[in-house]
Symmetry: C2
Amino acid sequence: MEQVKIIEVKESVFAENDKDAAELREQLKKEKTFLLNMMSSPGSGKTSTLLALAKELKGKLRFGVMEADIDSALDAEAMLDAGVEAIQIHTGGMCHLDASMTRQGLEGLETQELDLVVLENVGNLVCPAEFDTGASKNMTILSVPEGHDKPLKYPLMYETCHLLVINKTDVMEYFDFDKEKAVEYAKMRNPGIEVLFISAKTGEGIPELANWIIKNVNEWNDGV
Amino acid sequence: MEQVKIIEVKESVFAENDKDAAELREQLKKEKTFLLNMMSSPGSGKTSTLLALAKELKGKLRFGVMEADIDSALDAEAMLDAGVEAIQIHTGGMCHLDASMTRQGLEGLETQELDLVVLENVGNLVCPAEFDTGASKNMTILSVPEGHDKPLKYPLMYETCHLLVINKTDVMEYFDFDKEKAVEYAKMRNPGIEVLFISAKTGEGIPELANWIIKNVNEWNDGV
């Protein structure tokens, strides 16, 4: 098994995260690297969605992953095993990444050769939404077993995301999950949010998610 | 529908949370009120577990609930509808409760008449574990769809909890969840942690969870 590169990141000593994030975003635009910030609860399926995407995007985009975790290198190991370029970021107990921490991770990944970097943020619906990482776009995954009421309880997460991916549709029949209410509540928080339904397990909706990403990467490179 | 009492709590201006928490715990011991701090990811089933417990504990313990959320009063409404004394705490965007915020909530609940107060903490596996709320005991819920690897990724949550409740056992067959690994990983973080399996939906394991609580409430009152 390939050895996982682990980067212990530290929070910026400067409080000006928004400024730092805007600078990072500008830099990535010049380098034609699209950074997608993926956020969700623990266990909603970020890693398995990334593994499904890796297959779908093969040959279409040069793709790397930054796995952020409090501890462990499980997710980066899973990516490397699947042949995806990946590094593990350890936040030292912190519940989120800021722009400075994200930059430290990007430096470890050597993004010059990549069209797309996905940041798998710490599993948490509160803190990651509060800090601009410098990402080109933000997405959140809501899994069916979590329930359709989450946009009501974690407003900021839905306000800051461009895309909501509803995962684990394969187990829809075993849970009281109302698809229409989930979309309605998300749009209450953010009328412009796009919504896709997927099952990382069965592959349902993965081509549509890959297309969403390719379209956004192209627009980013075209300066839209 | 009964009107939900909502308390907007503020973080203590004092940094000495550990001292404050110890004082609150001492005070609750004198008043013979057992405070159980319930933590988990969003959507792992804290509210539905509480609703199942409310039925089971009826006539055995005088029971109240403090629901902590960033926004919404959904959970407290669900409790009141079920006939459980409950208040809603809003954290003003914060990802956890500290001892001072917990005290503000307890004052709103009038705990003199209660044997047991359950604090349903903000859905988050990182921040709530970092702050002592003054609770008598801490428990965490891990739901089957989240996966058995969570104790590896969120170590502090498992280190601080006395009880791990594994919920949604009714959907075990639809997920790749290894019960033995979940227990093994939790005990790696905390050898003393107790583990119970439940389904809040079917009621499986709820009597055992109620017995765990009654036993701990009795020991608290006996000064054990």
